[in-house]
């Protein structure tokens, strides 16, 4: 018996020693559910940043970052909370890269992150409501709030002299928040909204919604939804019935799949999407294609940046702990310091180790405001000849 106890104590010690070298980072994304087609790319991007840090050999001595995936489902707050709870209490993750959809992100933040003091950086939760959430300084996001995008989209419409629109949004925190900010901004600029009608994702039939919107009329249909979900269904139904020819689209609608499916039918439509131009984005595209996945999907860049920020903040705090991440994210993300692009994480780690300052630019030109949110720049694009073409950046 004594021997057995000793043996188990020894093995406990041994496992303890192993886990001490692993710093676990939670990757909570909707691997099933409405955005399951976007999340593999997002997770791969985040894990790419972590493995880049590990491979550089310049991270905190003897510590390896290990991603732990969990399913947020995008829509089921209870399931997301349970998954996050498991990550934090069982796997002992120090920080969370996620969650993705705004609703589940709010739930994970208030039920798991805040009570346990675990910081989270969301790459894609864009609901304006999250800005005011009680977060004890633990919540950051690399995707800009939709409060800003609503204004951008409203300006675009006014610039194009479109004075009357119908609006449809996906019926969740993201869509509702986006629609509210768009309506306010558009009305202020003198536009008229004939009808605002939500749509549910994952349904196949949208004739009721399109029927109502067509009756209400409007020059353009503003679609604030997802490109592989209800948003596409609404556009398809509008085209099929001839209700609308031109669409103004929010960021969730930007995807190559939409063009591949609808292509020439939506020529002349336009929209806005958070966009990073320049070196950072290009560097990331190169990294991604080398790693064997495409960067041209939504929120891959933001995911990479979120994971990179977690690692850099740990380095800055000189320990792999939740507190180090929470305290140092803003410091490493913002000026002053040496600008850091994707692929230069090793260099960044060395600078920090030598006591220098860095300004993480990353793939999306990261600049986090006081509340820990990206300001973001947007690309105003138009669809011509079945391809996205840039009109301007806002």
């Amino acid at each position: 018996m004594k021997k057995w106890l000793l043996a188990s104590a020894a093995s406990l010690l041994a496992t303890g020693a192993v886990t001490a070298e692993d710093a676990r980072i939670g990757v909570i994304l909707g691997f099933t559910g409405p955005i399951e087609s976007l999340t593999p790319g997002m997770a791969a991007s985040a894990e790419l940043a972590l493995s880049e840090v590990n491979d550089s050999g310049a991270f905190l001595t003897g510590i390896t970052l290990v991603p732990e995936r969990a399913d947020s489902t995008c829509i089921d707050a209870a399931a997301a909370t349970a998954a996050a709870e498991r990550l934090v209490t069982t796997d002992g993750v120090l920080a969370i890269m996620g969650a993705d959809c705004s609703g589940v992100t709010g739930a994970v933040l208030s039920n798991v992150a805040v009570p346990n003091g675990v910081p989270m950086i969301s790459p894609s939760a864009t609901s304006p409501a999250l800005s005011g959430a009680e977060d004890n300084g633990l919540f950051f996001r690399t995707a800009p709030s939709d409060a800003r995008q609503g204004e951008v989209l409203a300006q675009i419409l006014i610039e194009r002299d479109i004075g009357s629109v119908a609006v449809t949004y996906t019926n969740n925190d993201y869509g509702k928040g986006f629609a509210d900010s768009f309506e306010a901004a558009y009305a202020e600029l003198g536009g008229e909204i004939t009808l605002t009608s939500p749509h549910e994702d994952g349904k196949g039939d949208y004739s009721a919604e399109i029927g109502a919107l067509a009756s209400a009329g409007g020059d353009v249909l503003v679609v604030l939804g997802y490109s592989d979900q209800g948003g596409k269904g609404m556009i398809q139904a509008a085209l099929d019935t001839g209700a609308f020819d031109t669409f103004a689209m929010g960021d969730g609608m930007y995807s190559d799949a939409l063009l591949a499916d609808l292509g020439g039918d939506i020529d002349g439509s336009f929209g806005s999407v958070p966009w990073a131009e320049g070196e950072g984005a290009e560097a990331f595209s190169a990294l991604a294609s080398k790693a064997g996945f495409t960067a041209e999907s939504s929120y891959t860049r933001e995911s990479y940046d979120a994971a990179a920020l977690i690692a850099l903040a740990m380095m800055k705090g000189a320990e792999a702990s939740s507190a180090a991440v929470a305290a140092n994210v803003l410091d490493v993300a913002n000026a002053p310091g040496e600008p850091i692009l994707p692929g230069e994480l090793g260099k960044a780690l060395k600078i920090i180790a030598e006591g220098g300052e860095i300004d993480y630019v990353g793939a999306t030109d990261v600049e986090l405001g006081d509340s820990g949110e990206a300001a973001g720049s947007y690309r105003y694009y138009e669809i011509t000849d079945g391809a996205f073409s840039t009109v301007s950046f806002k």
Binding site: T32, E200, G204, A212, S215, G242, A257, D261
Partner: protein, 336 residues
């Protein structure tokens, strides 16, 4: 002229879409109702049976397309449907052999079978995603429109366009043919009659020498055919995404229950009731009334009975009313 405009607008936004959607729901509900009638449980795996069968159809379609086979203006997928049916039938029979037969032998309560079917649902769900992935797949080819809104306007000179997609027409026609075959089978063939007998009274059917295993097998094969046809039509008309089929389960069950679960006629009626109520109650009548009423009476508002947010509430209110006043459904199915 105004009257025509009003009619065309109504047909374009209400009648045609609801008719196509109703046909798809009806085929789905027919499958659910047959299982309920013969095997006596609500099969929650039906939505994912549709997804997995359609997946086989899509794979076969792609194979045919790469071989250069095409039906001209019709979608190639119609040729691939038999492969899908065969695939789904094998899968369902295998599931029955491995899973359901065990519980049947135990004379398990229907509620246990319902839970079992949920387990099967998740397994099918995973298999579909594993094989074809969670993404949208497009497999429709051939002519997209019989009549497009723009051509119709130019041809008729009306202000309103009327669009009729070829997939909508195919959906309705195929649904009619399939339903006719199923009914003929149930009423005119020996196997069909034995299925009905088995459904009415299991013990009596067994006494008169009907082989229960044959009845069960035939039922699964018919259900596989219905599921694949419904799933493929739905995928052609809208788009194929595994998640959508999972969501489709709700309106399908609503249709089956409203019509009277266990009653084939009821399933079809239920499908159309649900589809039309979803569209009719939330339609904004402004446009149609604008054409019909004299200028002075024209409405300023949208004349919308309910916002489209309540689309799903409408089907469930109908469901509750039917269950309260006619628990066996419109066509006297089994009580649930």
């Amino acid at each position: 002229m105004d009257l025509l405009n009003a009619l065309v607008a109504l047909a374009n936004f209400v009648l045609i879409p609801a008719l196509a959607y109703g046909s798809q729901l009806a085929l789905g509900a027919l499958g659910v109702t047959l299982i309920y009638a013969v095997l006596r449980f609500s099969n929650f795996a039906h939505g994912d049976t549709m997804a997995i069968g359609t997946m086989v159809t899509i794979l076969a379609t792609w194979a045919l397309q790469s071989l250069g086979v095409s039906l001209g203006p019709l979608p190639t997928a119609l040729l691939a449907i038999p492969f899908g049916i065969a695939g789904a039938a094998v899968l369902l029979l295998l599931t029955d052999r491995v899973v359901y037969r065990f519980y049947r032998a135990q004379k398990a309560k229907p509620v246990i079978l319902v839970i079992v079917s949920m387990g099967v649902m998740f397994i099918y769900n995973g298999m579909t995603r594993f094989i074809i992935g969670p993404d949208d797949q497009s497999f429709a080819d051939g002519e997209r429109f019989l009549i497009s809104a723009r051509d119709f306007k130019a041809w008729s000179g009306l202000d309103e366009g009327l669009a009729l997609k070829s997939t909508q027409a195919i959906t309705v026609v195929t649904a009619i043919i399939v339903v006719a075959i199923v009914f003929w089978f149930l009423t005119h063939t020996r196997t069909g009659k034995s299925m009905r007998a088995y459904s009415d009274n299991e013990d009596l059917a067994l006494l008169s020498g009907i082989s229960p295993e044959t009845v069960v097998r035939v039922t699964w094969i018919i259900v596989a055919a219905l599921a694949v046809v419904a799933g493929t039509l739905y995928g052609l008309d809208k788009s194929y995404k595994p998640f959508t089929y999972f969501q489709l389960l709700l309106p399908i069950f609503a249709s089956a229950i409203v019509g009277g679960i266990g009653s084939p006629v009821g399933a079809i009626a239920g499908g159309f009731v649900i589809a039309f109520s979803e569209v009719l109650f939330t339609y904004a009548w402004k446009k149609v009334l604008g054409y019909l009423l004299p200028e002075t009476l024209q409405p300023d508002g949208l004349v919308q009975l309910l916002s489209t947010d309540y689309k799903f509430a409408v089907s469930f209110v109908i469901l509750i009313i039917v269950l309260l006043f006619r628990p066996t459904g419109l066509f006297r199915g089994k009580s649930v």
